[in-house]
Subunit: 346 residues, 2 copies
Amino acid sequence: MAFNINEHQHVRYNPLKDEWVVVSPHRALRPWSGQVETAPTEEVPQFDPKNPLCPGVKRTSGEVTPMYESTYVFTNDFPALLEEGPEPEDSGDPLFQMKAAKGTCRVICYHPHSNVYFSNLSLKEVVCVVHEWINQYVELGKKYSWVQIFENRGAMMGCSNPHPHCQIWASSFLPNEPRIKDKNLREYFKKHKRPMLIDYVEKELLKKERVVYQNEEWVVVVPFWAVWPFETMVLPKRQVKRFNDLDCKQIEKLAQTLQVIVAKYDNIFKCNFPYSMGWHGAPTGEHLKENQDHWTFHGMYYPPLLRSATVKKFMVGYELLAQSQRDLSAEKAAAVIRDQPEKRFA
Amino acid sequence: MAFNINEHQHVRYNPLKDEWVVVSPHRALRPWSGQVETAPTEEVPQFDPKNPLCPGVKRTSGEVTPMYESTYVFTNDFPALLEEGPEPEDSGDPLFQMKAAKGTCRVICYHPHSNVYFSNLSLKEVVCVVHEWINQYVELGKKYSWVQIFENRGAMMGCSNPHPHCQIWASSFLPNEPRIKDKNLREYFKKHKRPMLIDYVEKELLKKERVVYQNEEWVVVVPFWAVWPFETMVLPKRQVKRFNDLDCKQIEKLAQTLQVIVAKYDNIFKCNFPYSMGWHGAPTGEHLKENQDHWTFHGMYYPPLLRSATVKKFMVGYELLAQSQRDLSAEKAAAVIRDQPEKRFA
Ligand SMILES: O=P(O)(O)O[C@H]1O[C@H](CO)[C@@H](O)[C@H](O)[C@H]1O
Ligand SMILES: O=P(O)(O)O[C@H]1O[C@H](CO)[C@@H](O)[C@H](O)[C@H]1O
């Protein structure tokens, strides 16, 4: 029997993480009798006088959210990272290492209305969101080594407020994920004299089977090494190292890309497709003065739904203790996303 | 202000993974208005004629589960890993690496009754479970490089059958987590001439603040670098490399340890505390003939609940894209678990 990527088990390598994923496409037939989630189809009113992210509403901190008209940024009332604080001492023991961590956590509201999202905002409004991401990245990047912009969409992904918003956690340290990525990107660059992700995007454009959308500036692919069922990566066609290196054309086309990818996701199971998403680029702070030619700015979407609006993939026992495992091949997932219309179901 | 480990933010190092975790104890005050889970307090009948893991019931495969009286092991009807199958070819491209994966997946029912668990099985019955784990480990370890024994407890952790059972996924490859652990244990051994986890357990026994339970042979600690709110590690007091290196005394005392830790967990929020748990020891298969003096056999519990039987910690945006983050310090979590009675609430 000949090997078929959509039918036969194998492992694939993630060169960004230096990790493998088990692909078990034959397992997709498995019936599911486990936990069923609430379908993320909830309708939200445009304004909710109890929602602290709405204009004019009082937050737990006592502050009142202003009557904002575009994006609105504020410091998280319960930040995981504070700008100042007492620092731990060095234990001198390799088994009990502790270090100081400084940082700040902000919230970006995308729009004053609660009932909007990328797929029904105007292109201009999405461009405003991208500009706000860039502003924040630049401002916080002056001081902090890493500025993580991310969004948890949907209650299933731990989001506790339905108003369209994302978060920024900026830190005095380079967190694990970008630290490992930096190492692997650097090694590839040393060996091949080219940024890994630019090589990758060019190859994916030729292969086509994992590309779900592209325009003049951006490509969305289900990465060859995807772990989450409908995971995607948003990659630029022209090399850029950081969010603030994007030119006007790239910004506008990124806004369009975001509208399309979210609409496609929502169309798969006719729901508000939950995910965590975020952006990675070259590190900032003290790293701004280092050579970062190995870095390519990119986005990642990690959506948990697998079979329907109510059945997700659980990353549990084997995944936590041994290795990530997926049922659907990356190529099948890409075909599903690619086939969705670019406008969201109404 | 002096640094207080239970109050002030910091990062801690996990020497097994070569990773850091952000600890934000000040964030524990955060109110929660996000997703609430179904409390895992469901009562299960002793026998359910529709449950394929009960003696005498037909499974989807058509096979009938025999009238077993102790443990019962069978090959998963929808295994993620198969023993045979066509193999992928080498692409020769570092960005598109695929390899063959072989393996097998088994299910171990702990007992014929559905309404029992470690805390209400007799010590002898738990000893039988441990013996079955060891038998399976030895049998599968002859052929496979890694034998991952794990249990997903509770629907919240992706478990789709309430009958007391665990799983074994044995593979022809060394999965990511044990591969990384092997590397770090080996480096420590080279440098310090002692198994890392034996050094670790001795130091934790002196420090006491993270120890939640101990008997003559075993210690349960919330590891210094814990990520999950009430994460624990089960460590031997005497060096053993693999599950099958345990002697009779260690086996009996391990059974007792399991009964106590599960009862303590269940007592925290008065529910069937969900978790993923599993065992790691020196690799098997072709690694059986290599020197593995750096390995110490141990168990891990990863429970998601944070604040109550219905509010869990979400490992999402920041955690997936940047670094694990916890609110409760490991020392506070240890105090909570330590203070629970060793018998489960009735
Ligand atoms: O095999 P089960 O129990 O149906 O499935 C569960 O455990 C597996 C191993 O951790 C995971 O891959 C699945 O996502 C989870 O639902
Ligand atoms: O800050 P939020 O949205 O309340 O919290 C959510 O995102 C955080 C960052 O990924 C996670 O640490 C929390 O577990 C999650 O519930």
